[in-house]
């Protein structure tokens, strides 16, 4: 995995990432065990063997994750962090870049059916090109050509239906 090795002295005294991770996981696992499982997994009235219950595997896994999270938490306290959670990288990156990325994600996840595969593909791809400050006009032609060609390929050659878009009809 890509994790950035940072000089140990640099992160000394700062928040320990494994500590935070461990705490988050402990909280999440507890919510899972004590709220989600009882609330959203119904136990049938009569189960012959507790291992047959629909709650068995989720609960066992939940407890194991909780236990392991505690270990992560303890190790996070005990050991100086080896890796830096690259928190302040965001600050160095132009805000527009990741905002546009988020927007592209939203276009795809919320507007695909309304705009259709082609239009949302063109919009999102263009947004991502802008995000990286690409200047040449030819490249934006790609943002136009690719969604069209790929959609046509999916729909007509591969017989995979894609949304045509509701606002165009």
């Amino acid at each position: 995995m890509k994790t950035k090795e940072v000089n140990r002295s640099e992160c000394h005294g700062r928040i320990k990432p494994d500590l935070i991770l461990g705490m988050c996981l402990v909280v999440l696992a507890s919510i899972f065990i004590f709220y989600l499982v009882p609330q959203y997994i119904t136990e049938p009235q009569m189960v012959k063997n507790p291992m047959l219950s629909p709650r068995f595997l989720p609960l066992v896994t939940g407890w194991v994750v909780l236990l392991l999270s505690v270990i992560v938490l303890l190790e996070g306290i005990r050991r100086p962090p080896k890796q830096n959670s690259v928190e302040n990288v965001h600050a160095k990156v132009p805000r527009l870049r990741w905002v546009l990325m988020l927007a592209a994600g939203l276009v795809y996840s919320l507007l695909l059916e309304e705009l259709g595969a082609i239009a949302s593909g063109v919009i999102a791809t263009a947004m991502l090109f802008i995000a990286h400050g690409l200047r040449q006009v030819r490249i934006y032609l790609l943002a136009l050509v690719f969604p069209v060609v790929v959609s046509l390929l999916f729909v007509h050659v591969l017989n995979v239906p894609l949304p045509v878009g509701m606002i165009w009809e």
């Binding site: 119904t42 992560v72 059916e113 894609l162």
Partner: protein, 495 residues
């Protein structure tokens, strides 16, 4: 001898050759499109085969299957978008290699080990089908249960730096896999009354989300790194490197054959078991996960060793081991053929013609794959600012196409976020995937064993196969503990 000429007369037709070539080509291309999988390609090609000769039809589908498996590895290596859960294992080392400028080397390793595994798998299909099918029939729920237990121990070896975090990831994967309708009682589990979650989380959005999307998010939230470029993406494979991988490839192929012959376990387990065995035995074990060609070779060998072998239960017993073979079974039936012992009695020449075609398909895969590498490795040279938006578009279309549902796109982006968090917190994503795939198998077989046991737990230990896998599981755990202590001893003085 007259059989022989009959076999040839069925096999030697232009249609068959065209079918294999077209099948493999289509498979490679479709498999290499992010979000489209070999399974989907085979399913979509099925209606086209209705009007063909039976052998031609089935060879076309098998060609697509094999091509698709390789195509999925191409995207796994180049853009970290696995085309099948099994090729998620390939990317563990393949993607780092491509990032270091060795895309071509990684692709070639994948191709050659795929083809070798394919040939080994086909030969076992032809010569040992009857024997392996007998073993497969001795696999009841208890035997599966122990096999899955053993497979789960590979989580330890793909956990990266922290076994604890790897196990957490696997646990989370298991929890996600329990979403949906309960397999025994049909009641809802963690579906939050959403129809979209009743059929469990589909694996394509999960797969793309977990591996491809974090790369994209990473790219847009960090400073631009230098693009590693090299002439046509690096050098090819050297003979010495081939030799180095050979052992792992053969071991992986055999693992693939055995797993493939047992219906319902699948290529993912085979690829990861092969990978973890290779890592355990390799002199370069510390380079695994950072761009080790032996890792790519082992993963691909395990993955493709399954391909020919899944046809063993299909042809000799009429039992499809996975979705793809179920579709191929459909194709047999459409043509009035029923796989099983009867097929070998009544249509032996046809079966052998099929075998000829399957053998040929490995050769065709080698040729098509080599040509494909030439063009696909160019992808590695496209600047990421242009490549990634287009990759994202493919991923979105592909995720949508699985169930024709925008819900899956949201799911894919959500898993992308999860994968991104994993990256930033030093958690490896592969155990999550293994947990997601094996979790349900573990639970299903545990419950089935309990149900058939009629209250008698001795059924868990009922025969040599069960004991064999119990021994493997225990050995694997002991080995992991042993290595953990050894590493600790090495680590402590270093600090």
């Amino acid at each position: 001898m007259e059989n022989f000429s009959e076999v040839l007369s069925i096999f030697l037709s232009v249609d068959n050759f065209v079918a294999i070539a077209v099948g493999v080509l289509v498979g490679v291309v479709v498999g290499a499109i992010p979000g489209l999988t070999a399974t989907m390609a085979v399913a979509l090609a099925l209606p086209f085969t209705f009007s063909m000769e039976p052998v031609t039809a089935i060879l076309l589908l098998i060609g697509i299957y094999k091509g698709g498996m390789y195509g999925g590895s191409i995207t796994a290596i180049l853009i970290r978008t696995p085309g099948s859960p099994a090729s998620a294992c390939t990317l563990l080392d393949g993607y780092p290699l491509a990032q270091q400028g060795h895309a071509k080397k990684a692709l070639k390793t994948a191709l050659y080990s795929s083809c070798v595994a394919d040939v080994i798998s086909n030969i076992s299909l032809i010569f040992f089908a009857g024997y392996l099918a007998k073993i497969a029939l001795n696999f009841g729920p208890p035997e599966y249960f122990w096999l899955i237990c053993f497979s789960l121990t590979i989580i330890i070896s793909v956990s990266g730096d922290s076994v604890v975090k790897g196990l957490i990831a696997a646990g989370l994967g298991i929890i996600v896999s329990t979403i949906g309708l309960d397999a025994v009682y049909g009641s809802q589990r963690l579906t939050f009354d959403s129809y979209n979650l009743m059929d469990r989380v589909s694996f394509v959005p999960l797969l793309i989300g977990l591996f491809a999307i974090p790369e994209i998010i990473e790219f847009y939230t960090s400073k631009v790194g230098p693009q590693i470029r090299s002439a046509v993406s690096g050098a090819s494979l050297t003979l010495a490197e081939c030799k180095r991988c050979l052992k792992s490839v053969i071991r992986g192929s055999l693992i693939g054959v055995i797993i493939g012959a047992i219906p319902g376990t699948g290529a993912t387990a085979a690829a990861f078991i092969s990978y973890s065995e290779a890592k355990r035995k390799s002199p370069n074990k510390h380079n695994f996960g950072k761009g080790e060609i032996e890792g790519v070779a082992a993963a691909e060998a395990g993955n493709n060793g399954v391909a020919g072998a899944t046809l063993i239960p299909l042809l000799s017993l009429g039992i499809p081991g996975d979705v793809i073979t179920a579709i191929i079974l459909g194709a047999f039936m459409i043509h009035g053929l029923t796989p099983g012992p009867v097929l070998f009695q009544e249509n032996l020449s046809l079966v052998y013609a099929l075998f000829c075609g399957i053998l040929l398909s490995s050769v065709v895969l080698l040729l098509v794959g080599n040509a494909a590498i030439r063009y696909f490795s160019l992808i590695a040279d496209i600047p990421k600012a242009i490549l990634l938006p287009i990759v994202l578009m493919f991923c979105v279309y592909g995720a949508y196409a699985v169930n024709n549902s925008t819900f899956d796109i949201g799911l894919m982006l959500l898993f992308g976020l999860l994968g991104f968090v994993f990256n930033r917190t030093g958690i490896v994503a592969a155990p999550f995937l293994i947990g997601f795939i094996l979790g349900p198998m573990f639970e299903d077989n545990l419950r089935r064993t309990l149900l058939i046991s009629k209250g008698d737990p001795s059924v868990f230990f009922r025969g040599p196969i069960a004991w064999f896998f119990i021994a493997l599981t225990v050995a694997s755990l002991l080995f992991a503990v042993h290595r953990y202590w050894k590493n600790r001893l090495v680590d402590v003085p270093a600090q």
